[in-house]
């Protein structure tokens, strides 16, 4: 059906916004609920020594709220989601550059919407330089640069040596404006600004959550939507900015595309559809049949080599002596026999004993030619034709006349799929005839019962 356009997808496959936007919107929905006056997280001002810590809540508050209000069962899940939201910068620990959620009394604050990642920030290094420079101008212990920040500043000073005067001036101007702000407001804004840089210039070793998969970023066509300058004159931290940008309209389909769609869907309309009950039954039956062979559900015997460091199970698999469990699997369907090398050998051996191995040998030969390099294909096709299908063929197989005629034509201009129709026919024959006989044979039953072979050299 036509693609839904909830995420700004043009019909020509070009994205109009950051691929992370879907996640940002979901997080912002949760943030909105967290900030709800009635049912959100209680935000308070905490008195400490000589000052106040404004607008905070604890890590435990967040965890408790999440368990109560979101479909989250336990603390581990809450911490995982909470850390993810912190790493994206939606709330942050006020005393740490590392953005994780801890289930304790650590204080957190909400980020201001201006700095939300959904605004497509891609701040330049010049801005980072202005920021770090500004920090050094403020004589507050809490604003001292961390080691990695000091290193970054040194690096930036070298890189921007020529325009450092300009950067310094901007930093000065910023610092002046900041000084004029209300003390409490400054505390909050400083922490929010720092958290913004913690997202875009993370502590070494921390994940940069703004990174985008190169497969997605190469599709983005609107680089002008990204905001690169944090400290330009027109940007004031306090102004609100739109966060939930409405998804752009998709491009309407062309006439040719519509015609193609009509032809395609017209053809699909009358296809046979199996009932859901049958489908469900078949899925259930399959999983039940194979569950004992699934090492993630049923412990393997002998042990899983990764757990016990014992590779016996693989040695047995490689040996020619198939274990009981492996032989049992051959009875699940003809494909199981055909895909197991030992199964194929046993099947072939059985058929040879009945002098009816030509069908299987033909099938195997055709499988093999499909993998050959194209230059070897014509010769092989001729050989297979001579052996199995030509008049007087030594291993003549019985194919319906329609497939025979088609194959005769194909062989004149031989490609990899020359025998496809004949092979399909032979496969159906084998499935209903030779395979069933094999499973019922005493040879198979013996293998299944794991009757031990009598050793010739007993003493």
């Amino acid at each position: 059906m036509a693609q839904t356009n909830s995420v700004g997808q043009g019909s020509n496959g070009v994205a109009d916004e950051s691929p992370n936007m879907i996640v940002y919107r979901k997080m912002e929905d949760v943030i909105a609920r967290m900030q709800d006056e009635k049912n959100g997280i209680p935000i308070r001002t905490v008195k400490s020594f000589l000052s106040k810590i404004p607008s905070v809540f604890s890590g435990s508050d967040i965890v408790q709220w999440m368990i109560k209000n979101l479909n989250i069962d336990d603390q581990v899940e809450a911490l995982h989601l909470g850390t993810l939201m912190a790493a994206h910068g939606y709330f942050f620990p006020i005393s740490d550059h590392v953005l994780t959620l801890k289930d304790d009394g650590t204080f957190y604050r909400f980020q201001t919407p201006y700095f939300w990642p959904s605004n497509c920030w891609e701040p330049e290094n010049t801005d980072y330089a202005v920021y770090l420079c500004k920090r050094t101008m403020q004589n507050k212990a809490r604003l001292e640069l961390a080691d990695y920040e000091a290193e970054s500043l040194a690096r930036l000073q070298r890189a921007f040596a020529r325009k450092w005067e300009f950067i310094f001036m901007q930093a000065e101007a910023q610092a002046k404006v900041d000084k004029k702000r209300d003390k409490i407001e400054r505390k909050i804004l400083d922490s929010q600004e720092r958290a913004f840089w913690d997202v875009h210039r993370p502590v070494p070793g921390c994940v940069n959550t703004t990174e985008v998969d190169i497969k997605k970023s190469s599709r983005m066509k609107n680089p002008h939507k990204t905001r690169k300058s944090v400290y330009g004159p027109q940007n004031d931290v306090r102004t609100h900015s739109p966060t939930h940008t409405p998804a752009p309209e998709a491009k309407p389909a062309t006439e040719e595309e519509l015609q193609d769609q009509i032809t395609y869907w017209g053809g699909q309309l009358d296809r046979h559809r199996l009932k859901m009950s049958k489908v469900a039954e078949s899925l259930l039956a399959y999983t039940e049949q194979y569950v004992e062979y699934d090492p993630f559900i049923t412990p393997t015997d002998p042990s899983n080599p990764w757990i016990s460091d014992d590779t016996t199970v693989w040695e047995l698999e490689a040996s020619k002596e198939p274990g009981q469990q492996r032989v049992k699997r051959w009875a699940f369907g003809i494909n199981e026999v055909l895909k197991d090398q030992v199964g194929r050998e046993q099947f072939l051996k059985f058929l040879e004993s009945e002098f009816s191995s030509e069908n299987l040998r033909f099938w195997l030969a055709v499988q093999e030619v499909k993998k050959r390099p194209i230059r070897e294909v014509p010769t092989r096709v001729q050989e297979i034709w001579q052996e199995f299908l030509a008049s007087g063929a030594p291993s003549a197989i019985n194919v319906d006349s329609k497939s025979y005629d088609k194959t005769t034509q194909n062989v004149k201009d031989p490609g990899r799929y020359a025998f496809e129709d004949a092979q399909d026919h032979i496969f159906k024959l084998m499935k209903s005839d030779s395979y069933s006989r094999f499973i019922r044979s005493s040879a198979y039953q013996e293998l299944l019962q794991a009757k031990k072979k009598k050793s010739k050299n007993l003493f």
Partner: protein
């Protein structure tokens, strides 16, 4: 404009009819049908090995058929073939372009392939005469990035691309045999059916398509996702398709019922699915997410039965070995982990 309106109406009408036709066979839902089945017990897999060696984000990995070897591709510009049991690097292949997005191991074990922003699929011969691994072929025809590639044999490979098409190549001649066009968005991922006759592709037009390799036609199209499909795979019996999307859900579509069976989602999961792999029996679905975790789902009951948390950045790729014994995850944190 009137004609366009007519065409649009006709197309929408057909789609409505198909929705109705699909409803006709909905005599039950998968959830109802398995209501009597017990949920699979909690699955707890542990990291048994960590494969260290890449120096940048890992974008792709693929198991070889022999159950111990796998190949991984990283933005550090290397393809590494690992012996996952000993953690030794069997081969470390330097690439011309470091912007690699996918890699594949040939079923024979003789070759590996990779590709990415260079728009090409490069084939490497692992069993060269002098022991050196060299580029054997460079398959160039796509006009967009190479998102995924899978070998049919040593002679043929299928690729999917950001140019919205998939191509079947003859490796020896290095030419395109068949171009599969039809998607309206970048193709992100592909998977080959167990009988090698068909393959499925997932794309940024939010749909998955089933293609007949020989006939070169699109057999079926599945929709329902609300964002890019990043990952796709076959259910082990080849009768159903599993998709993973940026909309944070995975879906199971059945080929014979021609529709979605069930969606794997949880309101606590916000980040997109990057990769997926079913367990051997198909009862479990392991899916890698952008939130650094792998979630394990009971595929029939659509409930989470386990989490693999161990990576420090996005899980970009996942694979279950052919005997089902081990799961391998690759991440942007530059490590691969083996779990079971």
């Amino acid at each position: 404009m009137g004609e366009m309106e007519e065409l649009r109406k006709e197309a929408d009408n057909l789609k409505d009819q198909i929705t109705e036709a699909r409803k006709v066979v909905q005599d039950t839902t998968l959830q109802e049908a398995v209501a009597g089945t017990t949920l699979v017990g909690r699955v707890q897999l542990k990291t048994r090995k960590t494969l260290r060696g890449h120096l940048a984000k890992i974008y792709a990995m693929h198991w070889g058929t022999d159950t111990k070897l796998c190949v991984s591709a990283s933005q550090d510009g290397k393809l590494i073939v690992w012996d996952t049991l000993t953690t030794n690097k069997v081969n470390a292949i330097p690439l011309k372009s470091s912007w690699v997005m996918t890699c594949a191991y040939a079923p024979s074990g003789n070759m590996v392939a990779c590709g990415g922003l260079d728009n090409m699929c490069s084939i490497y011969n692992l069993k060269g005469k002098d022991g050196n691994v060299k580029v054997m072929r460079e398959l160039a025809a796509h006009t967009g990035y190479l998102s995924c590639c899978r070998f049919l044999s040593d002679s043929e490979i299928i690729t999917s691309s950001g140019d919205c098409t998939c191509i079947l190549w003859d490796i020896e001649t290095g030419t395109e045999k068949t171009i599969f066009a039809g998607h309206l968005g970048d193709c992100m991922s592909l998977a080959v059916s167990p009988d090698f006759k068909m393959f499925i592709s997932g794309a940024c037009d939010f749909t998955a398509k089933l293609w007949d390799i020989r006939e070169a036609t699109c057999r079926q199209t599945f929709s329902g996702h609300e964002s890019d499909i990043n990952a796709i795979g076959f259910f082990p019996n080849g009768n159903a398709v599993i998709t993973g999307s940026d909309d944070a859900t995975c879906k199971l579509y059945d080929l014979r019922a021609d529709q979605e069976l069930i969606t794997y989602q949880d309101s606590g999961i916000m980040c997109g699915v990057t990769s997926l792999a079913p367990s051997l029996s198909g009862r479990l679905l392991l899916a890698g997410y952008d939130d650094f975790n792998v979630n394990i789902w009971d595929m029939l009951k659509a409930e989470r039965v386990g989490v693999l948390a161990g990576h420090d950045n996005r899980v970009s790729c996942i694979g279950v070995s052919s005997d089902g014994m081990a799961c391998c995850t690759g991440s942007w944190d530059s490590f691969l982990k083996i779990w079971n």
